[in-house]
């Protein structure tokens, strides 16, 4: 059993050791051991050259990280939360994502932007936004969103080895959650491919597609529904861009029903994209009911617990949506 935090820490440790060009920069990543302790022990092991504490200057240090990548290094740029990445978003999109294309392939930007994304607990509106849809919108980026420890470790390692800018959307509430990790998953060369979704649970009546923390809620909902004879197929997207629509289509062809689940706001979101693509593909003809989305509530995140709890998709909301789409 390994927590997501330890899995990320292992991935960073292994990749820093494997390739001298890899380094980590961000606020509090070195001497503080990381704001969320993801980089615990790394500064002690690798020193000032490889683990760099930055001042609070997102636009500046993100640009510095991107420039370092253009010049041949392989930076991991940590945002304390992705909310702060908004200050640096021009560097992520205009400097990192678009450069390979604008230069007709002569300049590569092998960088990973990582950090916690989406809602936490009681941190209110400015610290709770989900950026999956915003980053997922842009060609030139790869965007991954791990759920389990295996996802976290494998995706981070793959992202660091990828020669392109990768945005890795972690989740703060998942950091402390332990998951089973196989022997294979604990090896130094364990990689999870970008662009491939994982079927976490087989089912026949409805397809639940999700990413990050809500995957866990989907599995809980599936357990409850199983008692009522409804078998849910739960798909963990793992990657937002490029999205593995084929796995979703194959599942919908089998189950004839689709429910997407995400933490982000409903408009122009991940679920909206999945629904649009399903309509465009072969799976549309196999739907017995319109596809349904379960999302965060369409409001800035409030603080009071009762309000916050009702702004994120809960297990009961997923169950309700499944029953609606199955008309039961």
């Amino acid at each position: 059993q390994v927590t997501v935090r330890d899995a990320l820490n292992q991935a960073l440790d292994e990749e820093l050791e494997r390739d001298e060009r890899v380094f980590l920069l961000g606020e509090e990543v070195a001497q503080y051991d990381g704001a969320y302790k993801i980089s615990r022990g790394l500064w002690k092991k690798f020193g000032d050259k490889r683990i760099i504490d930055t001042p609070i200057s997102e636009m500046g240090f993100t640009g510095i990280a991107v420039g370092a990548a253009m010049a041949g290094l392989r930076p991991v740029c940590e945002f304390m939360t992705f909310n702060f990445s908004m200050q640096a978003i021009d560097q992520v999109i205009n400097s990192a994502a678009k450069t390979c294309y604008m230069s007709a392939g002569s300049i590569a930007v092998p960088i990973v932007f990582r950090g916690p994304n989406g809602a936490s607990a009681g941190v209110a509106a400015q610290h709770s936004q989900c950026f999956a849809a915003w980053y997922g919108h842009c060609p030139g980026l790869k965007v991954v969103s791990p759920w389990s420890s295996e996802d976290a470790k494998g995706l981070l390692k793959t992202s660091i080895r990828d020669d392109n800018p990768v945005v890795m959307l972690e989740n703060e509430l998942l950091y402390g959650v332990p998951f089973e990790m196989s022997e294979e998953a604990q090896s130094k060369d364990f990689l999870v491919p970008i662009g491939k979704a994982k079927v976490e649970r087989q089912g026949t009546h409805v397809t639940l597609v999700s990413h990050s923390r809500p995957v866990g809620h989907c599995l809980e909902a599936a357990a409850v529904l199983a008692k009522e004879g409804v078998e849910c197929e739960v798909i963990n997207l793992r990657t937002i861009r490029p999205m593995d629509i084929e796995t979703i289509e194959a599942s919908v062809v089998k189950t004839n029903h689709l429910v997407t689940v995400e933490g982000g706001w409903p408009q122009f979101g991940v679920g909206a994209e999945i629904c649009a693509r399903i309509m465009e593909g072969p799976a549309f003809n196999y739907l017995d009911a319109p596809a349904v989305r379960v999302t965060g509530a369409d409001v800035p995140m409030p603080y009071a617990k009762i309000l916050e709890d009702n702004c994120i998709p809960q297990v009961k909301d997923i169950i309700f949506a499944v029953k609606k789409t199955l008309n039961i």
Partner: protein, 374 residues
């Protein structure tokens, strides 16, 4: 280039080199500045002259092509500022790094991209240095990172390149350029802080051409002493119209950086003859008289030419021959740029990613698909 015998003069008649007094730089947090004399050899002089003249004529040709609507979109011309990019380039090594903003054609040429590849990129053809994918503001080559469209964004990038220089330990430096307009961007100050903190081998260079689009420096900046705006970073103010001044200042700055002392800032006082871009006539915020005065008294190419003639480093005829050769090169490049085909439609989706197996890219509707390879 073939050497043509100049009828009236023997090469033995020319001086090998001459020494010139150059303007003293204003200093900020520096005890000593660059040398106030510069030695120019005949060979150097001819090279600087030819390079600046090539850039000048290339930019004027671009103006022509733009007015003929063969160049589209944004086009920011560098004529008047040639001494900056040439002075900088001759003072650094090919293994050093350069990054600038969108007024980049001169730097692109100075860093080694042929005129035809630059013009063909402006005209959007497959022979363009970015295969038609980038255009005026996005040209690149080895150790030259563009060509950047977002004002000021190139400055943190440059410091990042400098970080890589330090990391790899190969004693290379990065010239990070920005304009007087960009000098007020917040991210530049964030970058100054980190560059100084981490002693990055970064030479920050402000090309002050007095106007950020239509806004004069007096109307944009509470302090127009751009060379002091790095605060804790030492700075120099340099005559950017004198290629020798720029060269000596750059030699000084690179020596400073390579010694591991950290970043340094240079303000190059220069001038652009054209407006901000081709859509700006450039006379609503400055007078024709001002432009004419700079042309007649401070033109960088004329300055060098006069020096060389007066000190017997070259003859008028010889320089005229260079002018003819340059015009010919530009004409041929323009021919290429106007006749080379546009990139094939199949390449629309190429180079989204680097080192990636081929995949499909969506076009304007779900049935139009492009292949992406790189």
């Amino acid at each position: 280039a073939s050497r043509v015998m100049v009828a009236s003069r023997n090469y033995a008649d020319f001086a090998n080199e001459a020494t010139f007094e150059i303007k003293k730089c204003d200093l900020h947090r520096l005890e000593e500045g660059p040398s106030t004399t510069a030695v120019l050899t005949r060979e150097e002089g001819l090279h600087y002259y030819k390079t600046m003249q090539t850039i000048r004529r290339m930019e004027l040709k671009s103006d022509q092509l733009y007015k003929q609507k063969i160049i589209r979109g944004f086009c920011h011309l560098y004529d008047g500022q040639e001494a900056c990019c040439v002075g900088l380039e001759v003072a650094i090594k090919p293994t050093d790094h350069v990054i600038t903003a969108y007024r980049a054609h001169g730097f692109t040429y100075a860093r080694g991209v042929p005129v035809r590849a630059i013009l063909a990129e402006l005209t959007g053809r497959k022979g363009g240095c970015a295969k038609g994918k980038g255009g005026s503001m996005h040209m690149y080559t080895k150790n030259f990172y563009g060509g950047n469209g977002i004002v000021g964004a190139q400055v943190p990038l440059g410091a990042g390149i400098a970080l890589a220089c330090k990391y790899f330990g190969k004693n290379e430096v990065c010239l990070t350029l920005y304009g007087d307009g960009a000098a007020n961007q917040g991210q530049i100050f964030e970058t100054f802080n980190m560059a100084a903190l981490w002693k990055l081998p970064c030479i920050f260079i402000c090309e002050n051409n007095r106007y950020g689009m239509g806004t004069s420096v007096e109307r944009a900046a509470a302090s127009t002493d751009y060379y002091k705006r790095g605060d804790f970073i030492p700075g120099l103010r340099v005559d950017g119209m004198d290629v020798l001044c720029v060269r000596e200042a750059t030699k000084f700055a690179t020596e400073y950086c390579r010694a591991g002392k950290g970043p340094i800032l240079m303000e190059l006082q220069t001038y652009r003859y054209h407006g901000h871009s081709m859509s700006d006539p450039g006379i609503s915020y400055r007078t024709r008289e001002e432009i004419q005065e700079v042309r007649s008294k401070s033109d960088p190419i004329t300055l060098l030419k006069d020096r060389m003639i007066n000190h017997n480093l070259a003859s008028i005829e010889e320089l005229k021959e260079i002018d003819v050769a340059v015009r010919k090169e530009i004409e041929e490049a323009a021919q290429f740029a106007t006749t080379d085909p546009e990139p094939p439609l199949e390449e629309l989706g190429h180079h989204i990613y680097f080192n990636e197996p081929p995949f499909e890219v969506r076009g304007p509707n779900q049935w139009i698909k492009y292949k992406s390879v790189n």
